[in-house]
Symmetry: C2
Subunit: 199 residues, 2 copies
């Protein structure tokens, strides 16, 4: 037996969302069917509003509302001499949550990955260089992911940016706080040993 068309369409569309499999899509579909129409409308309105009102900040390429600057680029109290380079907008949020960084950001929208056909020209690196030419940046923190693509991107950027005689730093690799030495993988433990600090 097949589902009614409207149910099958909802299952298909919900199943395309990341992290939602066929079972999850079925659960959400039946949940929506049990709600009233207003609940469903609030959900669909929030999705459409998201698509309509969110654009990219023309300075740092993070998400911004209403076509203008993002909240961080708008904030005059942020330190313009510090620039943190991340792969994705979600990484901005992750660093903001630490409360440890008061500089600004630049979002690359990806990382160099020749296997997927992503080179430096597919990322927001041209925009970064234009920005650095006019900006008062003194230190660039490379906060790309600590994986192959992120490291490749960091190495490429470090080379490029050092030519502009900027201070270039990279996020530390090491043991996660609260983690167990025993459960650390050998690469992480190796990095932690290599980058050991005086006490």
């Amino acid at each position: 037996m097949k589902y009614p068309t409207a149910i099958q369409n909802a299952l298909d569309e919900l199943g395309r969302l990341p992290g939602i499999g066929p079972k999850g899509a079925q659960r959400i579909t039946y949940w929506l069917l049990a709600r009233n129409l207003d609940d469903a409308k609030r959900l669909t309105d929030s999705i459409l509003e998201l698509k309509e009102s969110i654009s990219f900040c023309p300075v740092c390429w993070d998400f911004a509302e209403g076509g203008g600057l993002c909240r961080i680029c708008e904030d005059q109290r942020r330190d313009v001499s510090l620039l943190c380079i991340v792969e994705e907008p979600r990484d901005v949020m992750a660093i903001e949550r630490t409360g440890e960084f008061r500089g600004r950001y630049h979002v690359l929208h990806g990382s160099i990955s020749p296997m997927d056909g992503v080179g430096p020209e597919q990322l927001r690196i041209r925009e970064l260089l234009e920005r650095l030419a006019g900006d008062e940046v003194e230190e660039v923190i490379l906060a790309t992911n600590p994986n192959v693509e992120g490291e490749t991107t960091a190495i490429f950027l470090a080379k490029t940016l050092k030519q502009l005689s900027l201070k270039v730093t990279r996020l530390a690799s090491g043991l996660p706080v609260g983690g167990d030495l025993e459960f650390a993988d050998e690469l992480t433990l190796g990095k932690a040993l290599e980058a050991r600090r005086d006490m």
Copy 2:
């Protein structure tokens, strides 16, 4: 730092869906932001279409399209003498997937649960009795869940339906096919022993 309002709203609404936590909502929101508007519209249209075109079948109370009978009640080839009673529409789908049942269904929309204030009058039991009065049903299969509420509902229905001199059966409890005896809980194993079959 806070998210832009439109992002926060989408996070809130998506986070209300069953099985989606804050991390899942964030993942879906960023995924939607990276898609084009048409993709998001297809999703929201499918949700609104779901709410607008799906109603309850007036005979079995499963979901139906366009206000009429559901596909199973419409199908003249189904055996009208066999009626399978389930708690929810998703249970209809689960039994249909077995390909073992050619009768019709009745969806109760819940199970008796005094703790949650759900008694027989909150379920589609009145509709079931009306239906049985006019219908050519000979056997009623109680396919409520094998948990406390489902068993309570089955016992209640068995008592009520036997007064109508109908054959009333219940789904078998026992070991899941492909499962390991060692990992079966003692209740299931006890039921399997109790209901052992001649070979």
